[in-house]
């Protein structure tokens, strides 16, 4: 069974603060990890991805994520948030086997950035 766990349903920070959104996964095979952002009333937008190599990957708008095999985690970070970063963030895994491209999403973390 493949699962994606995002332990924090809501995170509130102030503009300029750093933030970490947590993602843990459970899957027995090779996977592709990614983060997506969803602004209210819109579809999801791709932020970044990891499959192999350097465990720290850079994404758009100053976001980065770090993969840890030992912790089965792929946490998303940003050093200094802006009010426009307020949105719902989804972590997703995609099994490599079968080359399906299917995404299995977590429940999401709502990030609220206060001025």
């Amino acid at each position: 069974t493949q699962t994606v766990s995002q332990s924090d349903a809501h995170v509130t920070v102030f503009e300029g603060d750093s933030v970490e959104l947590r993602c843990n996964y459970s899957y027995g095979g090779s996977i592709y990890l990614s983060w997506y952002i969803q602004h209210h009333g819109h579809g999801l937008q791709f932020l970044l991805k990891y499959y192999s190599g350097n465990p720290v990957v850079q994404g758009v708008n100053g976001f980065e994520a770090e993969f840890s095999k030992s912790d089965s985690s792929f946490h998303l970070r940003k050093a200094s948030v802006h009010w426009s970063d307020s949105a719902v963030y989804f972590c997703a895994v995609s099994p490599i086997t079968g080359n399906t491209g299917k995404l299995i999403f977590g429940l999401g973390t709502t990030l609220q950035v206060q001025p």
Partner: protein
């Protein structure tokens, strides 16, 4: 490049009514996905196509839901007899084979009364 487009953006139905959702993927994307996103949850895959072929519809409630992509481009998702539990946002996404990055449309927000 134009993004994924969906219509309608909103739909409100009584239980038992039928509704169709339409999706136009990004040109050249051979893979098309339909997701159901209940309120305050992550998207859950319903069905996906590679060109015109259904690859996986195991999560599609087959007694009431159907999806087609006859020419391998646009797609239609239909609910034959809607139930209140179908209330959700229906998202369409597309990608190229072997590329693990999906492009999502704005979604259709369905409310079943």
């Amino acid at each position: 490049e134009a993004g994924v487009t969906q219509s309608p953006r909103y739909a409100v139905l009584q239980e038992g009514q039928a509704v169709s959702f339409w999706c136009d993927p990004i040109s050249g994307h051979d893979t098309l996905y339909w997701y159901q996103q209940p309120r305050d949850q992550g998207p859950q895959l319903l069905v996906y196509f590679r060109d015109e072929a259904v690859i996986d519809n195991s999560q599609l409630p087959s007694d009431r839901f159907s999806a087609v992509r006859p020419k391998g481009t646009n797609s239609t998702l239909k609910i034959q007899s809607a139930k209140q539990g179908d209330t959700a946002t229906y998202l369409c996404a597309s990608s190229r084979l072997g590329v693990y990055e999906q492009y999502f449309g704005p979604g259709t927000r369905l409310t079943v009364l």
